[in-house]
Every structure is written in C-alpha cells, then in structure tokens.
Point group: C2
Chain length 305, copies 2
C-alpha cells in the first residue's frame, strides 16, 4: 500500500480505496468458506435427506427477514412438498463468490408441475458503477387455477422473452403486468413471485468492461495517480424503469438472506422447530401449571447450544 498524503479534508477516494481493500478480503473469505465447508454441506445433505420434513421445518423457523415473505399458502406448499434446498456459489472457483444459485426440490403437489425450481443470481457491475445481484425469471408450470401469483409470474416471464426478442416497451404483456401491479399492489404477494426477479439488465460484455474499468481505477488510485472524478450523477430514472416491473423488488436481499442465514443455519433452525414442538406438547399437557410462567415456554433467547 502506497503512502498517502492525507490532506484535510480527507478525500473520499481514500475511503473508497479502503472499502475496495476490505471488499477484496471479504471475497477471499467467501472463497475460503466455500472451500472449507464443501464436504460438510455434502455430508449434511446426506444426513438431512433422511429426516422427514427437515426443510419445511427449517422454513417454519426462518428469521423474520425471510418469514415476512412466506404467506400462509406458501407455507402450506412448502410444508407438503419441499424435499430439498441447496445453495451454491456457482461461479467458484474462478468467478465471483457472491453469485449464488438457490435450488428448491419438490415432491408431487397440487400447485405446480415442477420438481425443481432453481433461481440463479449473478453478481454483476454496470457502466455506471452499480454492482449487485441480477437474475432471470424462472417459469413455474402452475396447475389449473393454482397460480399463487395470479398470473404475474407468467407475465414477468413473457415480458422477459419479449425483451430478449427486442419487442420494445409496448407489448401486451407489459401493459397487462403494469396494470395488474397497479391495481393489486404487491402487499401479501406470494413467496413464489421471488422467482420472477430480474434486477438491472447488464449484459456480460457490459459487466466485463465495467470490471476492467474498475480494476484500472483501483490500480491507479493505489499508485497514487489522480483519477478522474466519475460524474456522480445518479440516473435514478433509469433504475426506476428497471424496477418498475419487478413483482418482488427485494428478491436479491432475500436470496442473500437464504444463502447466508437460512442455509448455513439450517440445523439450528430445525432443532429450534423440534424444541418448539416439544414445548407445545408441554403447554398442552400442563396448561395450568404454566399459566404464571408463560415466558418460560418460549425457547430462551439466551440459550446457546
């Protein structure tokens, strides 16, 4: 690290430079983590495959950041038919460890035909300096009258196909989706709408060019060269357009929460579900005794295994 001449006031560039260095360490740690846990996750998958309802019970105890998106009907679908969940940092070993794929496996159920729903999120950077997770909509083959998103996921998928075919902004599907989103809003939307998320549209070429530009900028900063101040104008309108047709705008955050909390903590959540069950039994059997002391029936926050 080169010596800096710290003028007062501190240049924001020094802070950004530091953030870049911290980011590189975090990426390195994610790579290490993936390497060190690979065999353990394989072993866990084998063990939990023998436990009936393991993953539905995990979801039942999911933290609020996940649970808030799981509607009662979603819960019923998961409980009756989720047989496996797996998370992979699929661009490793050479790509970005922040890219994640989340795969749900289902048994036969009354809602959809799919046995596997896999959603991939790519960590990408665009020419304006934005970096984050982008995705592609996943089609769900709903059974008759069982579409939990009331047709919105299908429309999102159609819009995506129209966009790929270069059909412009005035397609039937876009108009329909817009009007449905305006009339129903997104409150209480199904968890399964999450599969529709796209995020910013960033081509692989744009990503590569942006990565290269960023690396050169960082290198120049480290060598103490003056770097051009990027025009910091944030073209919010552009982004607004991009998110205007998202039926699950926070899908990227939810994906990170699944990958970094639910997935590594699955055994903990499963055991919490068991404890909860046991405590419900106690409550049922000795209602009167517990009256005064109901708080004790909650799994104690202060208990760590």
């Amino acid at each position: 690290m080169s010596a800096e001449n710290i003028d007062n006031p501190i240049s924001y560039e020094i802070l950004e430079d530091l953030e870049d260095d911290f980011e590189e360490v975090e990426l390195e740690l994610l790579r290490q983590q993936a390497k060190l846990t690979k065999d353990l996750y394989a072993k866990r998958a084998k063990v939990v495959s023998e436990i009936p309802n393991f993953w539905p019970l995990v979801f039942e105890q999911a933290p609020p950041d996940i649970d808030e998106y799981v509607q009662p009907t979603d819960s019923a679908v998961l409980l009756s038919s989720l047989v496996n969940l797996s998370v992979e940092r699929f661009e490793l070993p050479n790509g970005d460890p922040r890219s994640i794929s989340i795969k749900f496996e289902f048994s036969e159920n009354e809602y959809f035909e799919n046995k596997v729903l896999e959603k991939k999120f790519w960590w990408r950077r665009n020419k304006d300096g934005w970096a984050g997770l982008v995705s592609e909509p996943v089609k769900i083959n709903w059974k008759a009258d069982k579409d939990l998103t009331s047709g919105m996921l299908d429309l999102v998928y159609q819009v995506w196909e129209d966009d790929k075919a270069g059909k412009g902004d005035d397609t039937e599907a876009k108009k329909k989706l817009k009007s449905q989103m305006e009339s129903t809003g997104l409150d209480g939307v199904s968890f399964f709408a999450w599969f529709g998320f796209r995020g910013l549209s960033i081509s692989e070429e744009e990503n590569q060019a942006a990565l290269k530009e960023e690396q050169e900028k960082r290198k120049a900063r480290k060598e103490g060269k003056e770097t051009e101040e990027e025009p910091e104008e944030e073209d919010e309108d552009d982004d607004d357009d991009e998110y205007e047709m998202e039926i699950f705008p926070t899908a990227d955050d939810l994906a990170v929460c699944i990958a970094e909390d639910l997935w590594p903590g699955a055994i903990k959540y499963f055991l919490a579900a068991q404890e909860q069950d046991a405590l419900s039994d106690i409550n049922f059997e000795s209602d009167e005794e517990m009256d005064d002391d109901e708080e004790d029936a909650q799994p104690s926050k202060k208990r760590k295994a």
Copy 2:
C-alpha cells in the same frame, strides 16, 4: 470423518456433530478474517481520525438492531464527544476469536469523566453445556446529576463487587437494584446501561473444564463411540437468577452487532450519513420541485457502491 451407520430416525448426535464441524470452520474463518483485516483496520483508524465526527455519524446511521438502543440523550452524548471506536478480538491468536473488546473514546463532556470506556466480552462455556459471551460491569464516573442510568449502573457495579467479596444475596445494593428495576422497568433505558452487562457467571476453571469435556465428547462422537446422553434438563430457574439483575439483558447480542456490522461497515455508514445530509440540503433548497417525487430523495435501497 468416520462412516456413520445412519439409523432411522437420525440421531441428534449426528446433527450436533455436524454443527460442531461447521463451528470449527467458522472459528477458522474468524481467525483468517482478523489476520487479513488487521492492517486495513489500522489504516482506517488513521484515516478516519482526521474526519470530524466520523464515529458519531456512523452511529447516526446504525442499523435498527443498534439504533433501537440509542436514546435521544445517548445520541447527543455520542454526537458531542465520541472521538473513537475500536473493536478487537483480544484473545487471538491463541484464544477464542469470538471474545471481543469494544472500546469507546470520548472527549471532555458534561455527562461523565471517563475518556475511555472499554467493555470486554469473553466467549465462555459452562458445565451445563451453555456457551456464549460473558462480561464484567464497567464503571462510569458520572458528573453530578448526569447519570443516564439513574443510578442503576452504579448499583450493578456494587452488586458485582459484593458478589466478588462473597457477600451473599441480601446486600443493600441488590435490594435497591431489584426494587428500582421493578419500579421503573427497562424500557427506554440508556445505551450506557450496556456497560453493566455480566451474563452468566463462569469462572476460568469452570470454562477450562467445560472446554475439555466438550472436546472429549466431540472426539468420542467422531470416533463413533457411544457418548452418554447429557441430561437435557434445562435448569431455567438458575438462568433466570443470573439475568434477574441485568439492566441490559441483550448486551451480548448488541456487542456482536457492533463488532460484526457497525465496525466493519463504518465507512459505508459514514458515507450514507453524508448522502443523507446532501439529500436534506436538496430537499431544503427545492422543496416544491421534490413534492411529487419524494421517494427519490431517500438513498435508494437498490444502490450499491
């Protein structure tokens, strides 16, 4: 890893064994992280020491899990006099990387005499298998009539001294503290009450013995030996006693949140504070223009640097 004969139903021991293995990886990653970030944190400390109000601005943007504990007066104290914050995993390189010390440095202020308040949390295990963070109360030398905890922190400190002197359960300080906690409750208690946290009382001997026992149990499980089922009776009453005189019962969680979110994310929070300021200015200058479009004035959730 030895082969397992997986009977149905799965033994909880296999799950616990897996959790132990995951825990060991996490500890290794914490050690790696401490090593890889050491120089960066030193550099950051140097840079931010030149930025007026860096740490108060970071606290201003603290995430809800921290912010909910900072009362308006606490905020004023931090804003007027917090000059540095530092977090250290002080038992490294040989001890537990989960032990953390959090050090606040203050300039002259009207509330207390201390220039430094350092709170240490030790990761400890007890004979019942509980593991977590324990601490010792830190005394704050309040100026006249400026005690933000209305005397509770002093009482906690006195109780701790009484306990060390073996004075039993009926001391003046205990009675006073209990009655004050009962009459005022802990809603809206000052952030500075956090310095009073003790947690479970675990002697170094008990910790060492418990660690040894746990290691032997893990080893036996890995070798496929039958291990005694621990009596799973959780003696809640015991714990309740331990937490009965805590004026900040969730201090350990808050410490982890400071160490794992506020501390590594300080630059991000500082920049968010700057952005907020800039946006407030815009709002102020062009109130009318913004009317229709107020959401744009919020830092966009979707923006990542």
